[in-house]
Amino acid sequence: MKHLLSINDIDKDFALTILDTAAEMAKVSEGPVKKLPTLRGKTVVNLFAEDSTRTRISFEAAAKRLSADVINFTAKGSSISKGESLKDTAQTLQALGADAVVIRHPASGAAHRLAQGKWINGTVINAGDGTHEHPSQALLDAYTIRKHLCGGRGDLSGLHIAIVGDILHSRVARSNVLLLTKLGANVTLVAPPTLLPHQVEQWPVKVSFDFNAVLPTVDAVIMLRIQQERMSDLYFPSEREYSTLFGIDSERLALTKPKSILMHPGPMNRGLEISAEAADSDKSVVVEQVANGVSIRMAILYLFIAGSQESVNG
């Protein structure tokens, strides 16, 4: 495959290859020399039409550890913010000779548009498109879960994972539902009905409105960021009520299994969907997720752009 636009682009075996590769990449990051010559001579463009410092830095670190040349093209002050079309931007990147474009964009499907083959030849890596998908985040979440709960090997069979919060608007949730179920985990979505996608019952997941009832059986809890503006859009009555029903605090965390882990893709709203005590508890692996993100992105960049695409396709 040439592009990573959606978790649907990869099968279970390849997903596991990415996780295994990331584990080896993590060793590099732990060694005295954090740089590999692997992508020497390759150009990776970070096209960030939406601000996301942490994802951009993560991809940038990953590309640099593999010795790629990195060009950052971000919303503020660039032609993107001046209304330049995606097509024109893409053609500029093509002229720069980008081997890969890592794209973050507020429009769902923007990565697909970039990859439809007419504007640009390079590999397109979706780093979050609107409310659609965020494949590298799901992969790093799966990596983190596997490391803690499966000894860093194999798939996620038998694990029960809860994804909690604004599923409707979450690209992290969409990618995670696809990936975690592909890897054999059971996924339960916990959210108020207003923040669940229409016809969610057709997804391969369970749905619950009762957070406390779900907690005793879960191995991992992924909390999603709740946007403050959802309240004015009538999705829930108040922050306080949301926090009471769907936020996690140390009392709720105590209901989970002893070895369970608590995750959050960040940035967190402490005091809203996650209490400070929960975020800083022993079960929280939020900080580790960031480190794992670099390893996963190194693995993605290596597997998608290191070789010649002719060989991959042929």
């Binding site: 995606l86 769902s108 923007a110 548009r113 969409r174 997804w203």
Partner: protein
């Protein structure tokens, strides 16, 4: 100058074969065999002659958006599709909400001369939904507007809708409603369903259309006015209209060719060529729309021909314009989906493509049967013809067709408008007699 046309050997309205002689803009003779000489002879053996088509829903974009379409290019596209009359929607720049604009549109249409261009007047000033447009002066203008629509926008205020329905009764006008509750469709991108949920595109619920249809049917019934529902897209909408008609209420309804064929699954490509308002729905809806058209619940095919320049579609889905061009592909789609399979009779096809829209809009010289003395508006169809849609070959100035590369059966080989050939496709050359 061609004054007379002899069409030989075609099947009249899908019935018996006859020769048709056209002179001075009228059908002057229909007989088993006509051997008088004519300026032009068309060999129509194996072809079918239908009354020229009438579109009640066309965006010609002029004035104001001539980069998408002009009345001239839109007229040519219409002629290619077998149309002899189109209804120019009011959402131009400036909006057709006064007699000056509608007269201008009508006059340009006349000077182009390829089809009759009937302007539709806006219901509210500048399509804003706050004040009624100059409905009476548009009706009394030289354009004689009888159809009013804010299409693109819904007349969402129920009181505004009631007043408009009542007001146009004085000149037997009709309100063509774009049924879309605005609050339920804020930022909506595509049909609300599993596909939208998976793609992360904001959903456009069927009910946003259905509740306006239901409300307006009740309002129109209360005030005794005529209501036309533009582009019905949902199974629920069809069911509501079926119920209303069973009660004897005065409502007519329209379906577009694209909603008879395409579904929301196409959005998975994120190609905005499939972005349209109202959105493509599910297969269940497509099936209900087809059934509605067959059983008379839906009265007409309206193209909702909506040209957009290439840059409006070469972008992210959510930033793209809504709409598809459709004049040149409408009949082949209808033929392929419903006529060739035998579900829709020729008689019913003539109703939905020609006589019903003419009746609803009051276009008196259109939708007439092919008989001696009637205006010579004829679409000549080759049921065996195959159209492979090529966007580069479209007459329309815009190329935003979702059907590029698709094959349809049933082509329009020629169009006669007012006794003149306005389109000749794959015609065999006829011999002079």
């Amino acid at each position: 100058m061609v004054n007379s046309i002899l069409i030989k050997g075609g099947s009249i309205s899908g019935g018996k074969k006859a020769d048709v002689l056209i002179a001075h803009g009228l059908i002057s003779e229909i007989a088993e065999s006509i051997n008088t000489s004519a300026d032009q002879v068309i060999d129509a053996a194996g072809f079918i002659l239908l009354p020229g088509f009438v579109d009640l829903h066309t965006h010609l974009r002029e004035p104001g958006r001539e980069n998408s379409e002009t009345i001239a290019t839109g007229s040519l596209a219409a002629a290619r599709g077998g149309y002899v009359a189109v209804s120019a929607m009011a959402n131009t720049l400036p909006v057709a909400d006064n007699s000056a604009i509608v007269e201008q549109v009508a006059a340009i249409g006349k000077s182009v001369g390829l089809v009759d261009v009937f302007p539709i007047g806006a219901v509210t000033k500048n399509l804003e939904g706050r004040e009624l447009a100059d409905l009476g002066s548009m009706a009394n203008s030289r354009a004689q507007v009888r159809v009013f629509s804010d299409d693109g926008n819904c007349v969402s205020d129920p009181l505004m809708m009631r007043r408009a329905l009542e007001y146009v009764k004085q000149f037997d006008g009709v309100i063509a409603q774009h049924a879309q509750d605005p609050r339920l469709t804020e930022d909506a991108q595509m049909n609300e369903g599993i596909v939208a949920s998976t793609l992360g595109l904001k959903g456009w619920p069927a009910v946003a259309e259905e509740l306006i249809i239901a409300r307006d049917i009740l309002l129109a019934n209360m005030v005794g006015a005529r209501l036309h529902i533009c582009h019905v897209t949902t199974a629920g909408g069809v069911e509501i209209i079926r119920w209303a008609k069973a009660q004897g209420m005065k409502v007519t309804a329209e379906v577009t060719p694209h909603h008879l064929l395409l579904t929301d699954e196409l959005a998975t490509s994120y190609d905005p060529i499939y972005k349209v308002n109202p959105p493509l729905r599910t297969q269940n809806d497509v099936d209900a729309l087809r059934q509605g058209l067959v059983d008379g619940t839906i009265d007409i095919i309206g193209t909702d021909h909506a040209p957009h320049p290439v840059e409006s579609k070469e972008c992210e889905w959510q930033n793209a314009a809504f709409g598809m061009v459709g004049l040149e592909t409408a009949f082949p789609i209808l033929y392929t989906t419903l006529i060739s399979t035998g579900r829709l009779s020729w008689e019913r096809a003539i109703e939905v493509m020609s006589s019903n829209p003419a009746k609803i809009a009051g276009y008196q010289s259109h939708g007439r049967p092919l008989q001696v003395g009637e205006p010579a508006h004829i679409a000549i169809i080759n049921p065996a013809g195959v159209l492979t849609v090529d966007r580069a070959q479209l007459a329309s100035k815009s190329k935003n067709t979702p059907f590029h590369g698709m094959e349809f059966q049933g082509t329009v080989v020629a169009t006669v408008f007012n006794g003149h050939l306005t389109h000749q496709g794959e015609l065999r050359s006829g011999s002079h007699e």
